[in-house]
Structures are given as C-alpha cells and as structure tokens.
Amino acid sequence: MTDLLRAGSLAVFIGLGLWAAAARDESRRRRAVSVLIGYVLLVFAAVAATGRDDWPFSAYRLYAKHYDPTDVYSRIEARVVDDSGREWPIDPYAGSPLPHIIVSMVLDGRLRSLDDQGQDRVGAFLLARAEEVRRRRAEGRRASGEGRLGPFSAPHGILPWLFDRAPPEGLARPYRAIRFYRAHWRGVDRWQGRPRELTLLFEYPRPEGAAP
C-alpha cells in the first residue's frame, strides 16, 4: 500500500506537469506551474519532516545515520575456487548490473531464508557469472558490466578498486566452485590493521558427502 502511495505521489507530479504542458495561454500555464511547484515543495517538506523516503523525492539521509566504529558489521562475501583448488576473490562485476556491495547485501537478506536447493541455485548462478567474467578478463577484455565507455564508464557508486579481484594467476584456470562466507569486522579493529573474520556458510557445488 505504501509503495502504491509513493507511486501515486510521482503520478500526481507527472499529472500536474502535463497540465502545465497542456496549458496554451501564459496565465493558465503560470497557474498550473505554480501548483506544480507548490506540490513539489510540499512533498519534499513532508519527506524531510517524516524522514520517510518517497523516491525520486528523497530525504537524502545517508550520512545522517549513527555510525559506531566499535559496532560489529558483517556482510556476505563470495569467493571462487579454481580447478586446482585455489581460492580467489569473486570479481566485483560478477554480480553486475547490481553494484558489488548491493549483491552482498541481497545475499545477506536472501540466503538465510533459502533452503539448500535455493542456495545452490544462487550459487550456480553466481559461479557461472564469475566464470564468464574470468574468461573475458583472461582474454584481455573488460567485464560486460563495466560499461560501453571503457575507462569513462561511471563506477557503481563506489570506487571500483576498493574491491579485491583476482590477480592474473587467478584468471588462468576455470572456476569450479563458489564459497559464501560471512565477513565480520569492527571499524576500529580494521583501522588497527586487523583483518576481517570469515565464517564459511556453504559451498557450491556441495563437497562430496555434504547435504543435500
């Protein structure tokens, strides 16, 4: 219901804009435009007052959050395994078009509610994507998710080199498995040089003898 109300607020904006666009004489258009402007200001005032988002009329609350670097943060981290058994970071563009950090958040939200078969389908999907990106990089090409503008493509919201990717030797052999870890860290610990702790959640394909 809330989603449809939010869609409705944009629909009203569009409706008022079309009313202004359709007005032929200047005084009518001015009246319609004034209503449109008043509506926009009202919606933004409501969004700011309530702190609730109504995208594309946003309250932009990102850096107003409480950040505590002594809190324990966590996210899901996927790593791939080549056919010699060596483990490598998954390419940050394996989950394109979703930004890498969003893929991690989506996995965090979904994996825990999936049964083993569901987890395996997600694992198979991401493994195939990672292998496709590996093949392209091994051939000296960019990942398809990196955009059509080469180095001038817009990054996915975060500077791309802040995410690990496999070195050249990690591109030489096909990927055969994918492992999903939960990474835990505290900001203060990483600041002091301590690495994140990784806990293995599951691996696809499941090692022999493991369920299912």
Binding site: T2, D3, L4, R6, A7, L10, F13, G17, L18, A21, E26, R30, V33, L36, I37, L41, A48, G51, D53, W55, P56, S58, A59, Y60, R61, Y63, A64, K65, Y67, D68, P69, Y73, P89, S96, P97, L98, P99, I101, I102, V106, R110, L114, G118, R121, V122, S144, G145, R148, L149, A154, P155, H156, G157, I158, L162, F163, D164, W185, R190, W191
Partner: protein
C-alpha cells in the same frame, strides 16, 4: 505583504530570461542520464536473475517501479531509452523524448537497488537527471533570442532539486545529531565505519580520521555549505561558491569513504547561464 511575496514568487520563478539556462538544464540532464545508462549496459538482464534473489521484492514494490515485463520487453525498452536520450540531446522532439526518457529512467533506475536498500533508494546518480528530464518535458521548448518566463521556471525548479540534494541532508543531520554532527567525532566515526566496509580502505580515510582538526573542519564546512545552499538560488557568487565547494566535498568523500556522487554533472545547472 501579500503583494510583496507574490512579487518575489513571480520574480524568482517567472522573470523573463533567455534560453541558455533551459538548454543547459536539458542537455546536462540528458547527458548525465546517457552516461549512466551507457555505463550499465546489462541493466535489463536483472529480470532474468533467479527467482530466489527476487523473493524479497513484494508485488507492490514491483508495481511501484513498473517491473514485471519479460526480458525481451525490458531490452527493447532499454534501447528506446538510449534513443530517447539521444533525441533529447539532438533536440529532436525534445519534450516527448525527455518525457519518455524520464519514465524509462524511473523504471530502470529502480533495478540497481530494488532487491535491497537500507536508507532509501537514491539510485546511484539517476535521481536528479530523471527529475530534470521530467521538468524540461513539461516546459515549452526553448526559443533562441526570446526572453520568456517559460525559460525561467523549469531551470529554477531543476536548481531547487539540486539544492535540496544538499539542504535536506543538513536537515537530516540536525534532526539526528543536532549541531554535534559538525563535531569531529561524528565525522570520524562515519569515515571509519564506511571506509572499512570495503575490501580496501580508501586512500585518505585513516589519515583524515586520525586528525581531529580535519574531521572538525569537514564537519563545519559540510554542514555550513549544506545549510547555506539555498543562497545559490538567488545569488550568482553563492552559486559559484556552492558548486566549487560541492565538487571539493564530493572528491573528499570519494577519497575518504569511497562513495562517488554520480550526479555531479548536474551541479552545472546551478551556474549563472541565463541572462535577463
């Protein structure tokens, strides 16, 4: 009093100006959007992702963003989005093209965060261009050599959208932290918590976080700039200062927190292009 405020309203929104501001607003909105969609060539493919990953998207959320078409239809719509944006840039049926672009941007922008978002879908750069494209589609096409109120209000409205991008975060910070947000401690904690979420830490994060002076300076300048940002709507020098400070600020955020403000080109709309 009422006549005075009515005069101020009319002067701000409807004073006759030349077409330069409107041409710039239209061009920058379309160019920014085109840059972003060319950088995301596989956006439509998201609809073919496993249903397990879509399971958290409610039918009402999907309906809000007009999601539900098959892959071929999404791919066709994505091609149409490119064509429409190029048409806006070329000035070919610009109002219709801008309207179609804005509607399709609204749809495709949602793809990047529809499966997960925590603080509201800011949609990674698409917000300001899509609002800008809607507004220029509502306004009569610019006429060269003519001074008109219809050249003024669309530009002013897009400028308001850009300024709200700075003013509303200041409001959010004040309602959450009060003036303490400008203290170095809050800025330092935000830098450390954000910067350590990636595999590598952004280059300047720890150096800035270790300096109470720099953190305090960032807090005061950021909050001051955001609170004073509406001055850019009424003062040409203030607009130039805001654009310069905002660019420095966004570079600083990238260097300390790794986050890139993809709608940066939209700041150009604030510059004093139009002539009365």
């Amino acid at each position: 009093m009422r006549a005075k405020s009515s005069d101020a309203w009319n002067d701000f929104w409807f004073r006759p100006v030349d077409d330069r501001g409107l041409v710039v607003a239209r061009t920058v909105s379309a160019a920014t959007a085109l840059w972003l969609v060319l950088s995301r060539p596989d956006l439509p493919s998201l609809v073919a992702w496993p249903r397990e990953l879509w399971s958290g998207v409610s039918p009402s959320l999907a309906a809000r963003y007009l999601i539900g078409a098959p892959l071929w239809a999404e791919q066709a719509a994505f091609v149409l989005l490119h064509v429409a944006l190029v048409a806006v840039l070329a000035g070919a049926w610009p109002r219709v093209a801008a309207f179609v672009s804005a509607l399709l941007l609204y749809h495709f922008a949602s793809f990047e965060e529809v499966m997960w978002h925590s603080v509201g879908p800011y949609f990674r750069g698409f917000t300001l261009p899509l609002l800008g494209l809607f507004v220029v589609s509502f306004a009569p096409s610019p006429k060269r050599g003519v001074r008109s109120a219809d050249h003024r209000w669309p530009v002013a409205l897009v400028q308001v959208f850009v300024v709200l991008h700075y003013l509303l975060p200041a409001w959010a910070k004040l309602t959450t932290h009060g003036l303490d947000w400008a203290s170095g401690a809050v800025v330092r904690d935000a830098i450390v918590a954000t910067a350590t979420a990636m595999d590598q830490v952004p280059p300047a994060a720890y150096r800035v976080a270790a300096s109470p002076f720099l953190c305090g300076l960032i807090g005061v300048v950021t909050l001051g700039m955001e609170l004073l940002s509406p001055l850019a709507l009424v003062s040409r020098p203030a607009a130039i200062v805001l654009v310069a400070l905002a660019v420095v600020g966004h570079v600083g955020i990238a260097a300390t927190m790794g986050a890139v403000f993809l709608a940066l080109p939209m700041l150009v709309v604030l510059l004093p292009w139009e002539r009365a």
